[in-house]
């Protein structure tokens, strides 16, 4: 696309959208958002960039190929589910660790496999949609 306004605005938009996607991912457990929505917004960010600068440039900006991102995401999601095996729980039982306390109320923050799983979802959605879009754009 040859619009100067769009090209100029895209650089700014991409960064904002990408940060926003992470924000949506992290707030998902209590407020509207989550890995699925976050991944979609992240994909939109890079699609905007690819429309402005072309798919080759967008691939460079992503650094890792989207197919790999998606695969790694699936792997992370699987590992998050298998982590419960070490605790003797069934597959995909959420594991919670309270930092600075022993329950949600008393702790400062928590480390949990549920968020790890959501990060996996985020990466799969991001990588899956981008691999599709880039392939579409490059198919000329």
């Amino acid at each position: 696309m040859n619009s100067i306004i769009f090209t100029a605005a895209a650089r700014l938009l991409v960064a904002l959208l990408f940060v926003f996607s992470l924000f949506m991912l992290l707030r998902g457990h209590h407020l509207p958002g989550g890995g699925f929505i976050g991944g979609l917004i992240g994909a939109v960010a890079f699609i905007v960039y690819s429309l402005a600068a072309g798919p080759a440039e967008a691939r460079l900006a992503l650094r890792i190929s989207p197919e790999v991102i998606a695969m790694v995401g699936l792997g992370i999601a699987l590992l998050a589910g298998m982590f419960s095996f070490f605790m003797g729980d069934p597959f995909f039982t959420g594991q919670w660790y309270w930092v600075g306390g022993d329950s949600y109320e008393t702790s400062v923050f928590s480390i949990n496999t549920v968020l790890v799983f959501d990060i996996g979802v985020y990466l799969v959605v991001l990588g899956g949609i981008l691999s599709l879009t880039y392939a579409f754009e490059e198919e000329t």
């Binding site: 509207p32 989550g34 549920v114 959501d118 799969v124 949609i129 579409f136």
Partner: protein
Amino acid sequence: MADHSDPNAPWKSVSGIGTSAITALLFVFFLQYLPGVAAGDPVRWVIPWIPSLDVNLTFWIDGLSLMFALLITGIGAMVMLYAAKYLAGHPQYDRFALYLFSFMLSMLGLVLADNLIALFVFWELTTFTSYLLIGFSHTDPKSRRNALQALLLTAAGGLALLAGFIMLGITQGTFEMSQINASGSLVGQEYYTLILFFVLAGAFTKSAQVPFHFWLPNAMAAPTPVSAYLHSATMVKAGVYLLARTHPALSGSDLWIWILSIFGAVTAVFASFMALRQTDLKQTLAYTTLMALGTLVMFLAGSTGYAITAAMTFLLVHSLYKAGLFLTIGIIDHGTGTRDANVLGGLAKAMPITAVAAAMAGLAMAGIPPFLGFIAKEVAYAGALEMRLVIFVVPMALVAFALMFAVAGIVAYKPFYGPQGKLPHKPHEGPWPMLLGPVVLGVLGLAFGLLPGLSAYYLIEPAVAAVMGAPDTGGRVKLWAGFNLPLLLSLVTFALGFVIYLKHQALRERLARIEARGPDLDAGWDVFLDKFMALAKGQTKLIQTGVLRQYMFATFAVFAATVLVTLLTRNVGGLSLGFAGLGFMEWGVAALIVAGTVLVLLTSSRIVALVALGVVGIGVALIFIMYSAPDVAITQLLVELLVVVLLALAFLKMPNLDPTGVQKHSFANAALATTIGVLTTIVLLLVVDQPFDRRLTEFFEAASWTEAFGRNIVNVILVDFRTLDTFGEIAVVIIAALGAFVLLKGAAKARAAKGEKE
């Protein structure tokens, strides 16, 4: 021969010595159970797998499984050591070692598993690993074809077996074979016939009974150590094992007796003639394996002590001598460069140790006293005389055993003492890792025969007890059973066998002529596969038109038909339309959606249609927001956006809509679309008319915070309560993305290649 390498290559690799050592350790591990099992104390280990479906990894060591386990690990260790030397320097030896070891473990799992589902899984694992082993020389198309043949045939049998197992498990209320056996015979029960057919289909394909026999000689495409292993104690014996394992539950009916007797006997006699006909020693041995399998099946038809003892004794002795002979053939091949029975001869001087090992295996095979083979034959005749179809079984057994005697001479005597032909290179003795197996196996065949009491007490009688499902009285396995009918039959066998051996050259030519006239099942298999592929191609062409519009029409037409039929046949009551409570905003959004839809229908530009469709989607998202479902609304909005972008990218490269094309299809499409719209509206109104069941909502509202520490119920359901579903969905996302990626890139590549050509 291409499948082995130069004798000077280093062979002491981790993958060779390591796997062999682990297998040997497993052998020692199983040895410790001998006294306990012999005393009638089976061992049972249970590891819950899917307890809710009654699927457990239950392992059960009784006489039958222990005998198999010892044969698998014992012969396995020697074969692995042998293969390390045989394939030394082969570029893919490590892969081979992995295949062989995995095959050993699958086979071990098969004979130890008590749960039918676990047994089935191991059964299929042996199919897959044996496929890899048979097709190991994967650059050879014949080898690949033969491996595929074995895979397809045994896997088809495996599917039948699964059906049989599921019926067996459901009708008996348990999937544990030991419990099914303990609760007595199934004969006369409602589903008995069906279960029997399915189980037999699995066993007969795996154990290569006529008419499924042709894959087995073809499986000789594998390197010789694999043949030695697959054809002695493992793979092909799996079917026999299955028949023995299910014997207490399924045997005794007329059907069982007739089918097993006839198929077994025909296989045995057919195979022993075919063995005589071959000139490649490896092929000869392949057919003698078939003969042994037929004999085993035939004796498993019976239920008397002698018949079962015959089966178990013969199983043991066959495993020992067959593995030994295959390994010997490998040494001969290695040492002379040929396996042609017409050329080989006079090797005893150059290969003395091989000659002794082969002699011991051959004597056991021929059934000469005091080898265990002799006892097996005596017991077999005694068993045959006790069987229901005695008039049929005894002559068949006599013919098979006599031919076996002759074949033993061809395989174990003639190459070493017969006249020597022109050999490809000067014969030399095999190295010790290759000699160890044949020698140990030969000595065992002799030792078990000399000590019949011990081998009966520790190995044969516990196995017989397991097959009969009752403690065994024993006392049948004797070196000298007195002057009786079996001994007489043995003497007749020797005489007949000796005559056949002397005349085998002439007989072979005659057999070759008969074979040429008979039906060629192996070629028939290829024809069958070709026809099957043609059928698949034809029906794909018929159903898969490649026109997206037709697919969508078919999909929606089926959807409309099913919903319509349901609505018409069920009494659904009246519809109530409530417009109360709808404000300006709701009507506005509805108008927006309708306007978008109308625009899609009227425009002749793809891009306009796409944007109008986006308007519809955003209208739906607005409705989600109004009824407070922000997560769904955000997702809908984003997906709508992405769809517009993706389709716009695609549409940029497509021409404007063709007005005439639209006209041609419009009436049927409009009718279908209207039907779908009306039906969906009716269904939705009916759904809303029902009182809303809030139980699930209440549960998630209550549990989301207390159990999953999250306040956003939608997300908590996605990532915690229903994680497995989400995992499946993201896997689908990846598969879809990769599929589209490959299609797009593949199309681009094909075009690029075409461009280069032009």
